[in-house]
């Protein structure tokens, strides 16, 4: 009846191991247990004692020292496997598991699954060229260098010795006929294959070779099975996921539904105190037998996402445990946003118009020196950002980062100009997420419309022009990553609709809809003369391009009545 036998390697959490062993035995599977020599004898004896009532089905094999990545693990497995095959002659499949492995499906299901595949060896086995999961950059080299030092306890010597061999271009000879393969150490092999490996006349030579291979437990059986197996299914029946440091992910009580739906036979590794998992999966399940194939897809995705989060993180998020010195693509934000410079000066209802055309959230001058001009001039905004200029100016980059992060999913647009806080200028210019549209020189329009003394206007104009010029230089620098468009005011006024259409198309991501309504431009009659006056005062306004001294825009003409003709 016992067509499946278990080899279990235990070194900790003995109560859980005992529970699992009892589960296997209840399912009529013999178990050969290996306990690490690192475990104190007293603990080992107590463990043996606890399982004394199962003497017939549970055996303990010769104890070895199993340090991670060393040969001990393999020789422990070899001895246990030999014991399993000799003491339990009706075992057809040997399943290698650890003390932290938890069977997820009834033993009966595993048995019938294996009965249906009597000649199949389930062992993940791939050549080094084909797998990405190697720790420490040692893939093929793990078969061609020598590794007498343990990686975990003697890291310095390990690294030194690897470096030494590399510098002498030392290469070991791989025994004749072997093609190095690696894969998960948790396998399920048939008696035929396993005994062929263990009784191989060349075993001595192979063992001698693998003793100095790096992490032999991931390659010994994986390589040798290729010599003898008639039918290798290169996958492990044990669900076991590794994170980016090569240590196994752990399962907890809240993974219960996931594990249940995965239809995997065994999961590794389970937290010893995950009481609900043990209670659920080790209870006698009255459910009818399922013939489902293991399907760990969903669990794969969850763990893959966890690794991504740890290695890549969420771009544009600055928080207590993510503080990139430099964002991969230099952006300080998480989502595209648009900056408009000179538009509210030239158009009377620009913010309103833009909000309607693009459905973006349109703010005023966020970096206004007096206060933050949020949409609707609210005193707070998303994420409880305050409109206090002092708070914003404390760390302007964080303000921008926070605003864009808080509103992710909704596009933000805001106004900017030479009277605003200029510190943010270079930051936006380097930000790949910024779309910056500038009508250069438009700051002159409010001056032109203002009712102030010309001498004051002249001073302001000179200052603003200088600031904007410096800003434009930043935008035109080769480091700029933002999508920048700059029009001189003269060019823009010449054909505003085309420019606006380009901007809106880029914001909405479509180019289907034609703009039907333009924002209302301020009356520029006399603007050319205004600029000429500045020039006459010795201040040369050059950023707005060429405005003829005559009316820049033809003044709206009085409608001339058509002559009234009467025909006879």
């Amino acid at each position: 009846m016992s067509s499946v036998g278990i080899i279990m390697l235990v070194h900790t959490a003995f109560e859980r191991a005992e529970q699992v062993i009892r589960h296997w035995v209840r399912g009529d599977c013999p178990v050969v247990v290996h306990v690490d020599t690192n475990v104190p004898d007293a603990t080992f004896m107590a463990f043996q004692e606890a399982l004394a009532d199962l003497k017939v089905m549970v055996r303990f094999s010769t104890r070895h020292r199993c340090e991670w990545g060393t040969w001990g693990m393999v020789s422990a497995t070899q001895d246990a496997a030999e014991m399993l095959l000799t003491k339990f002659p009706d075992v057809r499949h040997a399943y290698l598991a650890s003390g932290a492995c938890l069977p997820l499906r009834p033993v009966e299901e595993l048995r019938s699954y294996l009965d249906g595949r009597p000649r199949t060896d389930f062992i993940e086995s791939a050549t080094t060229a084909d797998v990405p999961w190697t720790v420490g950059g040692l893939d093929h080299e793990r078969f061609t260098l020598r590794f007498p030092f343990a990686w975990k306890s003697n890291r310095r010597m390990f690294d030194f010795y690897v470096g030494l061999q590399r510098s002498f271009r030392y290469r070991r000879k791989i025994p004749e006929g072997l093609v190095p393969h690696m894969g998960s150490q948790w396998w399920c092999l048939t008696r035929q294959t396993l005994s062929a490996i263990l009784q191989d006349p060349d075993r001595k030579a192979y063992d001698a070779y693998f003793k100095r291979v790096w992490i032999p437990d991931e390659s010994y059986f994986q390589t040798l099975a290729r010599l003898y197996s008639q039918n290798i299914e290169s996958r492990s029946l044990t669900l076991s996921k590794f994170d980016f440091q090569g240590k196994p992910h752990i399962f907890y009580d809240d993974h219960l539904q996931l594990l249940r739906r995965s239809d995997c036979f065994v999961a590794r590794k389970v937290w010893p105190r995950a009481g609900r998992l043990y209670a659920t999966f080790l209870s006698k399940d009255p459910a009818t037998l399922k013939a489902a194939e293991p399907n760990p897809g969903k669990i794969d995705r969850i763990f893959a996402k966890a690794v991504d989060r740890r290695t890549l993180g969420r771009p544009g998020l600055y928080m207590q445990s993510r503080w990139p010195r430099q964002e991969r693509d230099n952006s300080v934000t998480s989502f595209p946003y648009s900056v408009f410079e000179g538009f509210t000066e030239l158009f009377e209802n620009f913010e309103f118009w833009l909000a309607r055309e693009t459905s973006a959230r349109v703010h005023g001058h966020l970096f206004h020196p007096d206060r933050v001009m949020f949409d609707g001039r609210q005193d707070h905004f998303q994420g409880a950002l305050s409109d206090s200029a002092a708070l914003r100016d404390y760390q302007p980059q964080m303000f921008l980062t926070n605003l864009i992060w808080n509103t992710r999913g909704e596009q933000q647009a805001f106004q900017f100009g030479p009277s605003d806080l200029q510190k943010i200028g270079p930051i936006m210019a380097r930000d790949r997420n910024a779309q910056i549209s500038v009508i250069s020189g438009a700051w002159a329009v409010p001056l032109f419309l203002s009712n102030r003394n010309f001498a004051d206007i002249r001073v302001d104009a000179a200052r603003l022009q200088q600031i904007e010029n410096a800003h434009l230089k930043e935008l035109r620098s080769p480091d700029t990553k933002a999508r920048v468009r700059i029009w001189t005011m003269a060019d823009f006024v010449d054909n505003p609709m085309e420019a606006l259409q380009t901007i809106v198309d880029e914001m909405t991501g479509t180019s289907v809809r034609r703009l039907t309504e333009a924002p209302r431009m301020v009356d520029l009659q006399g603007f050319g003369q205004f600029l000429q006056n500045l020039k006459n005062q010795g201040m040369h306004p050059y950023l707005m391009g060429d405005f003829p001294v005559e009316n820049a825009m033809p003044a709206p003409k009085q409608k001339v009545r058509k002559p009234y003709l009467v025909r006879k």
Partner: protein
């Protein structure tokens, strides 16, 4: 050079803790109950009796095995209450809170003596620790995972919680969950810079910066904390639990773009007890920077005690905080 200076400073702090440890008098010492691998909690308090029952309940549920309290001359019966608890050890002192580096010297002394090799949670009575999966996994799951990942310290930013309306509107009842009264927080107005000397991140913001420090944001209180540490005799906290020495323990963040796992301390400062507390602390002058913080509070409380705004966020669970980017699961799944 700098690291030698820090080493000396660490040694000095340890000596100081030994000296200040003499001020402690044991009211109840149950440390003989502590077993290997248990999780310990350290806390100083003064006149917080009303908060203690819920505090103990919260952390017992989380899976803390033993509590260490230093009671700084309470007169509300809190120390006696603590001494009567089966899993609490209490020391009392009449020494100056300020001169004991705001209580840290006392705790460092106790940690030196009892915490070697244990995971230690160091929090205030108004701080409630939240970590990824805290609704389904005990804190031991976290510490086991940290152990297996060779991580020694775990960061948790302070998140100031506040009620809607005036702080004094709803009184806090003994053994009540403060979260029922003050479930609101600021989701995204935090600023971060790096402290090159200790390598910790310096985080400011939240309602305290927004309301009490809007005109002097630089002075706003620090929110970064490292409350959970696998303790070794050589360690010491430097300024509250904001940072530690050796400074490698402060590297709870990733600089290459990834996210390390991190938690949150829900900071329940703003209950109806706050106004009285602020006044008392101001008169005692026992707090940081000449109690500038409390000065700002007392000023602020006179004019606008409502911290709530239209964009305040209401607390639901840790997953919400993780989506908002306030904490992270890192690679724990």
């Amino acid at each position: 050079m700098n690291s030698y200076r820090l080493r000396l400073r660490r040694k000095r702090f340890k000596l100081r803790a030994r000296r200040k440890g003499l001020q402690l008098k044991a009211l109840a010492n149950r440390t003989d109950q502590i077993e290997a691998g248990q999780i310990l909690l350290f806390c100083t308090c003064r006149n917080e009796d009303v908060r203690l029952p819920y505090f103990l309940r919260y952390y017992r549920d989380l899976g803390v095995d033993h509590f260490f309290f230093v009671d700084n001359s309470s007169d509300d019966g809190g120390a006696e209450y603590l001494a009567g608890q089966p899993d609490v050890s209490v020391w009392s002192t009449k020494g100056s809170y300020k001169k004991a580096r705001f209580g840290i010297d006392w705790l460092t002394y106790l940690q030196m003596k009892y915490a070697e090799g244990h995971w230690c949670l160091t929090v205030d009575v108004d701080e409630f620790f939240i970590f990824p999966f805290c609704d389904t996994r005990p804190v031991a799951a976290l510490t086991d995972w940290l152990d297996s990942s060779n991580i020694r310290s775990f960061g948790a930013v302070m998140l100031d919680m506040y009620p809607k309306g005036k702080i004094t509107d709803v009184p806090y009842e003994r053994d009540g969950n403060p979260l029922d009264i003050a479930p609101w927080f600021d989701a995204g107005n935090y600023t971060i810079s790096r402290n090159p000397a200790y390598r910790n991140l310096w985080i400011q913001g939240g309602p305290r910066a927004r309301v009490f420090f809007a005109d002097k944001p630089k002075k706003a209180p620090a929110l970064n904390k490292v409350p959970l540490v696998k303790w070794s005799k050589a360690y010491t906290y430097v300024s509250s639990t904001h940072m530690l020495l050796p400074r490698g323990l402060n590297l709870v963040y990733d600089e290459a773009g990834g996210e390390k796992a991190s938690g949150v301390l829900l900071h329940m400062k703003f209950l109806d007890t706050f106004g009285a507390k602020a006044k008392e602390e101001l008169s005692r002058q026992e707090h940081y920077a000449q109690s500038a913080e409390y000065m700002a509070y007392v000023d602020g409380m006179k004019t606008s005690p409502d911290l709530w705004c239209k964009w305040s966020e209401k607390y639901i669970n840790w997953r919400q905080l993780e989506i908002l980017g306030i904490m992270s699961k890192g690679n724990w799944a």
